[in-house]
């Protein structure tokens, strides 16, 4: 998401912020939980982009990942399961001057929240959305989620889950008005940061699926990818993310992918192994719903009164009417 002009002006009078200015409380996630890495990247982002804490809102649903706002020293809305997106939309529509982030889990977004997810992509409101995809229901103690790989043993699928996992990227890319779609992993912090930064700077609905480790319920599941860099396909492009020399040495499986190519983006999105990491698609020209609706107008009392009077006139019967014998405007 980009920053409003007005924001920039205000900024100039601002003192700069340090990391601590965005840190609140001690995260209660399990040690080794991928959410910690995401939190670190986001706090860094806020500091580097010097966001004003009181003008920033983190919105979430319910889940381990949805505890995120509590650990940010900004405004936060820790709502109900599956509804983070419509809440965030309401906030953005009422207050386009606020910077909005959304943290949502794979159950929160892709299961109970799926309808809102599809439509949020359509609305393309200016916000940054992080899908914390640990492929499991964490908080409720290990039930299969829509993104769980087939055969995953969980408390509701003791003999293994029945269906192939839903691929959030292909779904997102299938929806009209998708404007920013990326994938990151919690264990490559540098790229995670770069992707989140690009997402934040994109004006529109920036959707970042983050493969997030859940050591509590799925201790080893992502190890093959964590341990073998070759199983990660890094998408590089001057309009996307570019890799540091060091990273380039480690992650040799790379593809130069132009984020404006949706057909190729959809093909890449379908890849399961190696897993793509980077910006799959970006289209800066999709209008934002809040702009189409002229959100955030200033309204004076006189303005409202005149509008109201104009409406009442349409329905008013004036006492003198009955006497006025003017010919109809015919």
């Amino acid at each position: 998401m980009t920053i409003h002009a007005t924001e920039c002006l205000l900024r100039m009078h601002d003192e700069h912020h340090a990391l601590e200015d965005y840190q609140s409380g001690v995260p209660r996630w399990c040690t080794g939980c991928g959410d910690n890495a995401i939190l670190a990247a986001v706090q860094r982002l806020c500091r580097d982009e010097d966001l004003r804490p009181e003008k920033t809102v983190f919105v979430s649903g319910i889940g381990c990942s949805s505890r995120f706002p509590h650990y940010m020293k900004t405004y936060g809305f820790h709502g109900i399961h599956g509804r983070a997106l419509p809440v965030a939309e309401g906030i953005k529509m009422a207050r386009p001057d606020l910077t909005v982030f959304v943290n949502t889990g794979d159950g929160d977004c892709c299961s109970i929240g799926a309808a809102h997810w599809i439509h949020a992509i359509r609305y393309n409101m200016n916000m940054t959305v992080m899908l914390h995809d640990n492929q499991i229901y964490g908080l409720t103690k290990m039930q299969a989620s829509p993104t769980s790989p087939r055969g995953l043993k969980s408390n509701t699928t003791p003999r293994g889950s029945y269906l192939d996992g839903l691929q959030p990227l292909t779904v997102t890319l299938g929806v009209q008005n998708a404007s920013f779609v990326a994938q990151a992993v919690d264990w490559i912090p540098e790229v995670l940061y770069d992707i989140l930064l690009a997402a934040y700077r994109h004006k529109g609905f920036s959707f970042v699926r983050i493969l997030q480790r859940c050591p509590e319920w799925l201790p080893k599941m992502l190890d093959p990818w964590v341990h073998d860099p070759l199983k990660t396909l890094l998408l590089t492009h001057e309009d996307g993310v570019t890799l540091s020399p060091n990273l380039s040495k480690v992650y040799k499986t790379q593809e130069r992918h132009d984020p404006s190519n949706i057909n190729r983006a959809r093909e890449i999105a379908s890849l399961a192994d190696p897993i793509p990491v980077g910006i799959l698609y970006r289209n800066p020209n999709v209008p934002c719903y809040e702009d189409l609706r002229n959100a955030g107008q200033q309204r004076s009392t006189r303005y409202i009164k005149s509008g109201l009077d104009a409406e009442f006139d349409k329905f008013t019967i004036w006492p003198q009417d009955a006497d006025s014998k003017v010919q109809p405007s015919a």
């Binding site: 419509p86 965030a88 009422a94 009392t301 329905f315 009955a322 015919a330």
Partner: protein
């Protein structure tokens, strides 16, 4: 068949009209205190416009008016079908008219099938006058002609005063396509019948077709005049309903338009909704005007999104509103609970329809009171108010917004399908700045203040709005302490629930005891809420006129309830609620005192005041008629 025979058919029966006293030109003019007239046609033939125009004219004459839409069940019903009638029902009175009244006195029908529909729903008064388009008699389709004659004869046999009128033919003398203009011809006849100033009719046409070009207006005026003259010549009866022209400007609105204007006047800026009958027309009108004052109507993907979108908007700025009806209201339960828990101001308008489930989408019921009060898991106290008149619809939204932001609560406004589509004139509201929501507070929060600094007595706490420096915190639907931190300890949970509950008590202390309609004491007190107000008070008035010691009490606040209600009830020998929702009839074989299910308000009154409040209710999808209520009350008093 030609006009003359029509008159031959008609005249004798008309002469029978006793109430009429003959005037010089042989035309009978009957003075009436009130009259109910209907005009019904296939949809698309413009009966609705005719009815609305008549209502407007009558209002401008100074008559009391209550118009009700006659809506077909299907979108586009087949022509000449019993269920397909579309039109308007207008109750005219000398004084103020507060409801749709009883059965209809006079009908204009464009074909006999839509007329049959009205007869079958029992809308028409025994032996009432029917002005019936006679063209079908000569229809080239023998089936049509046959059915017309059959129906006509049945109605006559049933004692209706059927007056056949060749409207089509008469209109053709004025315009080419008669089908289009018939409604204005009918309007002309009605202006004549009710002795309305024809000039007002012409002006009304000028208003309605204002945007169209002059020729359109001219033709329609011609049709109006034609209808007027035809009636003058061929009908030998005429009515006059004495009117007192009001000295102040009046607005004529239906309940949904009034609700929409209330949203405008309340200064709210965001309305999030999902279409559902009969609530949608609020949003239709709002969509066309809200943007003019900087507001936004957002049609969400579903009701849950609509409600949470509104919650988000409220949280970040001014109180927002979401509008729905039964099924949508049920879907919003969890989201409403979140607003209650987070103490986010929110206005929820529920335009009630027949339930349960999809039920009767276009018809009236008062079935959602209990779910409005108790309908979310855990303890989720909300304010519940219900408008009783069209005028109330307008002001209730303003009140709701104010309460919502003063107490940081959810306020439910319960309207219904009857108010939604009925029109009634009321004094044009005088704009007041006090109506509007204050601008969003972005000032710095003084150090040390907490987001949930619950007042130990009232439970109230100052609301923190994003953008306010020093106010950063994370709102949560989980149990939380005064810092809005998630807290699972017994004290935090208890004190949060107490605070949210006591806000209701705090509001209750500010409410005024509602005033009794009729004497302060007597044999029977009728308690009601919502759209039945007018009918109840009319029934009470009539009974009192007959010497019965009956009074009524109308409750606008259902939760919390105003103080003093028990004292009022205690002054009457019997108390009964009249409601448009279900209650078991004690006379039914299987019903006894241990299993009888009471009406919503009766349950609430009995439980709070331990007074043996009886109830009578109806779920027939129709507004409850004053004379039905009168009958019921008489029976109850006998016992």
């Amino acid at each position: 068949m030609n006009g003359t025979t029509a008159q031959v058919l008609v005249k004798p029966r008309l002469r029978a009209n006793k109430a009429a006293q003959t005037v010089p030109d042989g035309k009978a003019v009957t003075t009436l205190s009130e009259h109910i007239v209907e005009i019904v046609s296939d949809s698309g033939e413009g009966a609705q416009r005719c009815g609305q125009s008549l209502g407007a004219i009558a209002a401008r004459m100074g008559n009391g008016v209550w118009t009700v839409e006659i809506i077909p069940a299907e979108i586009r019903p087949p022509a000449r079908s019993v269920a397909g009638g579309s039109g308007n029902r207008i109750r005219l009175g000398s004084g103020r008219v507060t409801n749709g009244g009883n059965e209809t006195d006079l009908v204009i029908a464009f074909n006999e099938q839509v007329l049959l529909g009205r007869v079958r729903t029992g809308a028409l008064k025994e032996g009432c006058s029917i002005l019936l388009e006679s063209m079908w008699r000569e229809s080239r389709d023998p089936k049509i002609a046959a059915s017309y004659i059959e129906t006509h004869d049945q109605l006559v046999a049933a004692g209706f005063k059927v007056i056949e009128i060749p409207m089509e033919r008469e209109c053709r003398l004025v315009v080419g396509d008669a089908k289009r203009g018939k409604n204005m011809f009918a309007l002309g006849m009605l202006c004549n019948i009710y002795s309305f100033d024809l000039q007002l009719g012409r002006e009304q046409i000028a208003r309605t077709f204002g945007k169209k070009d002059a020729s359109v207006i001219a033709t329609n005026v011609k049709l109006l005049d034609a209808g007027y003259e035809w009636a003058e010549k061929n009908l030998d009866f005429k009515y006059c309903i004495p009117a007192v022209r009001s000295t102040e400007p009046q607005v004529v609105l239906d309940g949904n338009t009034a609700l929409a204007l209330g949203v405008l006047a309340s200064g709210m800026e965001v309305c999030a909704m999902y279409p559902i009958t009969p609530a949608t027309s609020v949003s239709h009108y709002l969509s066309s005007v809200f943007e003019k004052v900087g507001g936004i109507v957002h049609q969400a993907e579903d009701e849950i999104a609509a409600c949470t979108f509104a919650v988000g908007a409220s949280y970040a700025g001014k109180c927002a509103v979401t509008i729905t009806s039964g099924p949508g209201y049920s879907l919003k339960q969890e989201a409403i609970g979140l607003a209650v828990m987070g103490e986010i101001p929110l206005v929820v308008i529920n335009v009630q329809r027949g339930g349960p489930s999809t039920g009767l989408p276009t018809k009236v019921e008062q079935g959602d009171l209990m779910t409005a009060i108790f309908g979310s898991h855990g303890d989720a106290p909300k304010v519940v108010i219900a408008p009783g008149t069209i005028e109330d619809c307008f002001y209730s939204v303003i009140t709701a917004r104010k309460i919502a932001e003063t107490f940081n609560m959810v306020v439910i406004v319960l309207s219904d399908a009857s108010l939604a589509t009925s029109q009634q004139p009321f004094p044009r509201p005088q704009f007041s700045e006090a109506w509007l929501a204050p601008p969003i507070d972005q000032s710095e929060i003084p150090g040390g203040l907490k987001p949930y600094d619950w007042n130990p007595v009232t439970g109230l706490a100052r609301r923190f709005i994003p953008g306010q420096p020093g106010g950063v915190h994370t709102l949560t639907g989980l149990a939380h302490d005064t810092l809005s931190h998630v807290a699972y300890d017994p004290e935090s949970n208890e004190s949060g629930i107490r605070a949210r509950s006591h806000k209701l008590a705090a509001l209750q202390k500010t409410l005024k005891t509602p005033s009794v309609f009729g004497d302060a004491k007597g044999d029977l007190l009728v308690v009601g809420w919502g759209s039945t107000k007018g009918a109840i008070e009319e029934a009470v008035t009539s009974l009192r006129a007959k010497g019965h010691k009956v009074s009524s009490l109308h409750l606008t606040f259902l939760q919390p309830m105003a103080p003093g209600i028990d004292e009022i009830m205690k002054r009457f020998k019997k108390v009964i609620t009249i409601e448009g929702n279900w209650s078991d009839d004690p006379r039914d074989e299987i019903v006894d005192k241990n299993n009888r299910r009471y009406s919503a308000l009766a349950i609430l009154l009995r439980s709070r005041f331990l007074i043996d409040v009886d109830c009578w209710s109806e779920v027939r999808g129709q507004p409850i008629k004053p004379n039905t209520i009168e009958r019921v009350l008489l029976e109850k008093m006998k016992k």
